[in-house]
Symmetry: C2
């Protein structure tokens, strides 16, 4: 009877175990480095013990073709055992530091420029194969240069900052994002999950709980004849017929390094095959972060659950674009404009989820990208420093929506007055400093090509050493359902290649 090891108890690993159990496998072990299951599905509880937030993945994406969503929706109808979800797509509210709201502006009509830039990118790259990739930033500058005669000053000034909203999907700054990869299609609406812990537990109930070994860090995988030998940092050795490696791409890539002491690194014997090496060298990893601000009550009144604060822009930027005569000088002149200030929250766009609109919870969740996400993690949960960093953003949001400014009530009691928003708690994700995630999910930097990695992961190291996770799928890449399907894929592969 085939023995299977699964490395990682994230959604891919749990689904693989669930599928193996359904197919009659009995000798399965899941090695999980952390003290909990779920991986990058991670639900935490707020200061009042009631509010809950997903600090990792938060949505069912592509709900027109999302198999996990379909399964959940059916369960919701049948016995209510699904994780509750709601369709939360909403109109982005864009807030500029100086101008205020610029969304759906009757004169600027920035959303149309945003859409045109998307089409411009599409025409650059998808209608021709020989155009070299650039950063998303350079693509936007190219658009501005070519189309400036058809753009108003306000459009030149604010539209690029609106386009940057996509930084908060990839977890990367526009200057490090691949222009080829920035835009992607949505296959239907998104459904926010409230919360993913229910889903994780449901899937984990589909197989014996003693299959899961928490706090168990695998450090080597050796192929010997028809067997695979796995060792852990505590010195245990496990001999199996198959292994499904579901660790994040960011952790897998440590295997390419010589330093064997790196936390989470797995030594492969023989080393990872050539295709996998090429795949890992053709792709990067993003760093999306989440910072939750919990308030005593909602003093703001935004009509949408999606608020985007824009990076500050200047008239000088418009002037430089207007006066440009060639694109390379323009790029140079703009880069001189950039490097004048130090780290400041108005240098980046932020995506703020307004839970008050979603489910009446008086909390705002700020999504952050590299480099901000790593900077915030470096503050080591020092609430005062984190608050200090975001205070100008938060106060701008508050004043835009008729609230008084934010008062820090985390460590002291503050009495309600002047419609001030009383801050009670801050919750930060730490995906980048966490050695078992080292970031958020796959991302493409200029020149990357995710195709190699996906093909290599699908083929596996060999017939016994297999891979699953969000970085191993084409449809649903970076998404919960993609990871879930990949776990099913590998379990099915093993079932088809073995006898029980």
């Amino acid at each position: 009877m085939s023995r299977v090891a699964i490395i990682g108890a994230g959604i891919a690993g749990l689904k693989a175990a669930s599928t193996l159990h359904a197919k009659g496998f009995t000798q399965v072990k899941i090695f999980e480095a952390r003290d909990r299951i779920g991986g990058r599905l991670y639900t935490v509880t707020g200061f009042d013990g009631i509010r809950k937030y997903d600090m990792g993945a938060g949505w069912h994406h592509d709900t027109l073709c999302n198999g996990l969503f379909d399964e959940e929706a059916k369960l919701q109808e049948n016995d209510g055992s699904s994780a509750p979800f709601l369709f939360d797509d909403d109109f982005n509210i864009y807030i500029d530091k100086d101008y205020g709201r610029v969304d759906r502006h009757p004169e600027m009509r920035l959303e149309f420029i945003d859409r045109e830039v998307e089409k411009f990118a599409d025409m650059q790259y998808h209608q021709s194969l020989d155009i070299p990739d650039t950063s998303f930033y350079e693509l936007i500058i190219k658009y501005l240069f070519q189309k400036k005669n058809f753009l108003s000053d306000e459009q030149i000034r604010y539209a690029p900052q609106i386009c940057r909203f996509l930084e908060l999907w990839h977890g990367c700054d526009w200057k490090s994002l691949s222009a080829k990869d920035t835009y992607f299609g949505h296959q239907g609406r998104n459904a926010m999950v409230l919360n993913f812990d229910v889903l994780v537990q449901r899937i984990a109930r589909n197989f014996p709980s003693n299959w899961i070994k928490l706090n168990t860090v695998v450090n080597s995988i050796t192929r010997r004849n028809n067997e695979v030998i796995i060792t852990t940092t505590s010195g245990d050795t496990h001999v199996v017929d198959y292994v499904i490696v579901t660790i994040p791409q960011s952790v897998l890539e440590l295997s390419l390094l010589d330093n064997k002491q790196l936390n989470g690194r797995i030594e492969f014997n023989p080393p990872l095959n050539e295709k996998i090496v090429k795949g890992l060298n053709s792709i990067h990893y993003g760093s999306l972060g989440k910072v939750v601000f919990e308030f005593q009550k909602a003093t703001w009144s935004a009509e949408s659950s999606k608020i985007v604060t824009l990076a500050q822009s200047s008239r000088k930027f418009v002037e430089i674009v207007r006066n440009s005569t060639d694109i390379s000088t323009l790029v140079k002149d703009l880069s001189n404009l950039d490097n004048q200030e130090e780290e400041d929250c108005w240098k980046h766009p932020f995506y703020i989820i307004n839970f008050e609109k979603i489910n009446g919870t008086p909390s705002l969740m700020i999504l952050t990208q590299e480099p901000v996400s790593k900077y915030i993690e470096s503050l080591n949960n020092d609430y005062n420093k984190i608050f200090q960093y975001f205070e100008p953003i938060l106060n701008k949001v508050m004043s835009t929506f008729n609230s008084g400014s934010v008062v820090n009530g985390i460590d002291q009691d503050v009495s309600e007055s002047g419609n001030h928003a009383i801050l009670k708690n801050i919750i930060c994700s730490n995906w980048s400093s966490d050695p078992y995630s080292r970031g958020s999910y796959t991302a493409c930097k200029p020149g990357d090509d995710g195709w190699y990695m996906i093909v290599a992961m699908n083929e596996g190291q060999d017939s016994k050493i297999r891979f699953a996770g969000e970085h191993t799928v084409m449809d649903g890449a970076g998404c919960v359902y993609g990871a879930w399907e990949s776990g099913h894929r590998e379990a099915t592969y093993i079932a088809e290649h073995t006898t029980l």
Copy 2:
């Protein structure tokens, strides 16, 4: 020296003549049935002798890849000889008869359903080849049936009516539109042209004006050896080496009928080839109409230039969808719901261009689709009847934007009072009853496939009898720039296959 005849002085014919002249041809004739050039580019003047409207095409579409737009934009910069244009993409305002405005509604979020239906259609047809085409209406019903558990009552009620906005792009009712063909991509923003007469005249200035023969109706085209013999209804015969037939597809298809007396029909000897016959039998023609309402002054205050009034919907519709258990019964039940009323302006969506926002002209232009467009034409410019038909729609728009109701001041002087909108004039297009257009432009009904027609038109009747026009191109089909490029294409073809 090659002799060329061009049938039709629309943009395709004019561009063909312009290109032939540039290439040194001197023996060129353009036969135009009407008493004017421009074809479906047709600019008229308003009641005050100042306002102007394009009753045919009105926009440069796809401005990221529109060669005619690029040429015009360059001229605008150089010597100002272009037709003025402005980017007028704007946020649609949706008005329901009973509910009022439903655009950007914070709870209904209908625009997201609209987008999801587009993706649903895409997934139905573009990811699989063996799904039979249906009407756009049936596609939407299918979506509602499959997704009703994820839609609110308001979304089931109003979203289908918002989707119907596309009727006003194709000129067809949702029940006669091909679901496969309803959605199409926009390659960049649209630029409204003010007005196309300037462009028509500019292109006509590129070749000798005596090439154009107005009021000349061609009724036969005969291929004899290496020559083509053309006769007109006045009995003239012209012998040429090449002919470019740019008459609309709707007029060309008359050649398939036996009745030789039909106005505009051309008898081809030998008859149109098999591919062309198949092409004509695989495609239809839409009937977009325009009705301009000119007011004394603007009493309304819409923040957008795009207003869409929705067809009336009912709670009964929602109930039937909610209670449906299979799709065919649902379709049947809904069709029973439909056939209860007679012709009424609230049975159809309308797209209203608010010129007040665009250029300060106090006029509203209503775009209409079949069957309304033909009904309005049948009223024979009886202003009272036309006003009567649209009065409920106009008054709803007025009340939505803080204006008093519309007062008919066309044939009588009316004094300003109570912020009433004083109507001074109505201008109607007549593209469907005009024997030389017989509708607006190419459209796909369920089961159509436009590909056959485009290929047949590109190949031509033979090496001497060629075709141009909006129905002969893939990129820019139905658009001014597509017709313009096709004229250039055929002139270039002739130049490459002949000696001067």
